[in-house]
Subunit: 413 residues, 2 copies
């Protein structure tokens, strides 16, 4: 038995215990995890400093994800405490009906089982994934980007100890202790023990994972997000939303990548938006029609419409009406988050009907698409898949269900 | 472009139309499908007679599934009318909350898109799958077992005409018109157009499908179903439930395959159950302890505990208590349907907590585990997967969701 197989087998045994553990024990473990995080603060920051030093030459967007500073630290701790306080997702009665023959049929939320999470070099995801998995009664196997290995090992150790202190199996949380690529391949073979793989990161990595496993995969591709500014959009609101969508954090999946402006929008609306973006140092790449309005914008190539920049760059296209906007989104978007800015509820409704993305927004920044702003608490990411869970993946999304049918001798006639 | 690729592309175009079609149009199409079925009755029965003639040498369980007699015909028609009358699953508001900043977040049910259904030579599944897919706003590509090809082509033609008459694209329902195995391989490559594959049938077929595609797969393995007769079970109820579980239809996935009897159950309970089974001609294969009670039962081998007979054969094991019963089920079951017969609500609750199957039953026949007895109407089958949908898969299960968030200029701080 390989090391990875042993690890997967232990996770399955832990999952069987977790499945029947009382909600209060899991909440207790989460509170202890937050407490242990506080205790290991200095060690974590030192480990992260070492990870950051090794990553000195990597791109700034990458380093931004890797860094654990005071803000990220507080955020991790807060998420663990929030997860402890959230209502328990396990055992929820999702449906209940009594059939004519007296059979009482209930659909009850239960944990999925063992979840393997493969993700970028982003230590806060380690804490979030452990929190969400434990909250939902699942065992989790974590495989973070190797550049974050030191940070992750400190985090995992602290969280495992907390789980054990709460009287639950420490193997509910396990970190793959090697940056060896073969470990991922080996992990993907463990369909006997692992119920779900959640990969986050580059498209090529995720594709390779999908092709290399029989375990169901819940994909977290990055996002090519759009805003469509309708002709009747409030210019000031439009400028604020677009600037926030693009600039608040350029390195994340729900940052804006393409702006669609209706051809009938007043020139002053376009000017205000452009001014807000320029103030934030955003490079604009426009279609021909946009460059007639803003001559010093760079010309956009066909590739721009399909590019997730994760950088202060924005492609801009002038479109004729909501249908053309929706068509552009269907052809070039990634189904992650797409919004409209309009003062017409009817037009908003039309857009919402036409656009088939995980999140469709009206008069809001793409950056609010996520677990926190949706009131879901900690999430493991934002699914771009259509099945099981779409959009933010929190504790409820890491449950499945079973039917419980209680009869009085009911037969099939 | 291959024939299959063209077919998949057409399904995707049809799905885009269906997604925004009014519920009433889909209900109208379903009623017309039932009407057209009635009109093609003679042609269908003739086509099925030809299919049956070709299948003369195949096993009786197989032929039973293939046959369309008056009963099966009425059943198909009834299911279509029931589907038309069911509440519309698309557009349901699954959750709604208003966040402190005024953001209104809704989770709304939407169709999955294009579903490919690969199934056995069982014409009633053709009608059920088309009904469930259309009800939920999905386009469906049907690939039924080749032995049912004549029956299926008559059915598909009738249903497509009905969809077109209702003003919807006929390509919402398409039948792969060849029994060529290469067609399935080609279908599984169409991840650009197909959102979900639902295979039913043998384990080896389903495994091959999972390994051969990047499209998400919702598996419908067959079932190794158990009943556990507790010491306090009402003997008469136990005998009735066990006989119905095993004998009402031996050829289906929710038929009983293994009986677990508590060692503390009175001998008279065992006698009653055995008498009821023998009356129905069931061959018994028991463990050593069972054979002490029933000496003329055949000895069960280890392989028996893992066998889905789909025949009038039942394996029987004596167990010591509910934990041992649950352990046997975890080791040998397929997570489909498992039940307890007891007069103790506490013991029932204990069993329900320990057994992690898609359906866990109390004092009811395994045969009632399904869409009809659960009040879900037509289903495409019973999923043995843990993700997205578990147990019966009806119109609600063939939906996904999107988040719709309506703001007033909400930004991420």
């Amino acid at each position: 038995m390989t090391e990875i197989e042993t690890l997967a087998q232990r996770a399955k045994a832990a999952a069987a215990t977790l499945r029947t553990a009382k909600p209060e024990m899991r909440a207790d473990a989460l509170r202890r995890m937050a407490g242990n995080l506080e205790k290991c603060r200095d060690r974590l920051l030192a480990a992260n400093a070492a990870d950051m030093a090794d990553a000195a030459r990597l791109p700034e967007a990458f380093r931004k994800r890797l860094r654990v500073d005071d803000k990220v630290f507080s955020y991790m701790e807060k998420r663990l405490r929030e997860a402890a306080a959230l209502p328990d997702p396990v055992g929820r009665i999702l449906e209940k009906r009594t059939m004519p023959g007296g059979l009482v049929v209930k659909r009850v939320a239960v944990p999925i089982g063992v979840i393997a999470m493969i993700y970028e070099a982003r230590p806060n995801v380690t804490a979030d994934a452990a929190a969400v998995a434990l909250k939902s009664g699942n065992a989790v196997i974590l495989k973070g980007g190797s550049e974050a290995m030191r940070s992750n090992l400190v985090l995992a150790e602290a969280m495992r100890a907390a789980v054990a202190d709460a009287g639950l199996p420490a193997d509910a949380i396990q970190m793959v202790p090697t940056s060896d690529r073969a470990a991922v391949a080996e992990l993907l073979k463990q369909d006997k023990y692992i119920d779900l793989v959640i990969p986050r990161g580059g498209k090529s990595l995720i594709r390779a994972i999908e092709e290399g496993t029989r375990i169901p995969v819940l994909k977290h591709y990055d996002g090519i997000c759009h805003q469509y500014v309708a002709a009747d959009a409030d210019p000031e609101m439009a400028a604020r939303i677009i600037a926030n969508s693009k600039c608040q954090n350029v390195a994340v999946c729900n940052a804006l990548e393409t702006l669609l402006v209706d051809a009938a929008a007043p020139e002053t609306t376009v000017e205000r938006i452009v001014a807000a973006l320029r103030k934030n140092g955003v490079e604009l790449r426009g279609c021909e029609r946009f460059r007639k309005l803003v001559p010093d914008a760079l010309p956009a190539t066909e590739a721009d419409w399909d590019t997730e920049y994760l950088a202060p760059v924005l492609s801009v296209r002038i479109v004729d009406g909501v249908e053309e906007a929706a068509k552009h989104i269907a052809e070039h978007g990634s189904g992650h988050t797409d919004g409209i800015i309009t003062s017409s509820p009817e037009l908003a409704e039309r857009f919402v009907g036409l656009v088939d993305s995980a999140s469709v927004l009206v008069n809001a920044s793409t950056r609010i698409s996520g677990g926190g702003d949706y009131g879901m608490g900690a999430v493991v990411g934002i699914s771009t898949d259509r099945l099981h869970a779409r959009g933010p993946v929190g504790p409820e999304q890491l449950c499945t269900y079973k039917y419980v049918a209680v009869g009085n001798g009911n037969l099939r006639e």
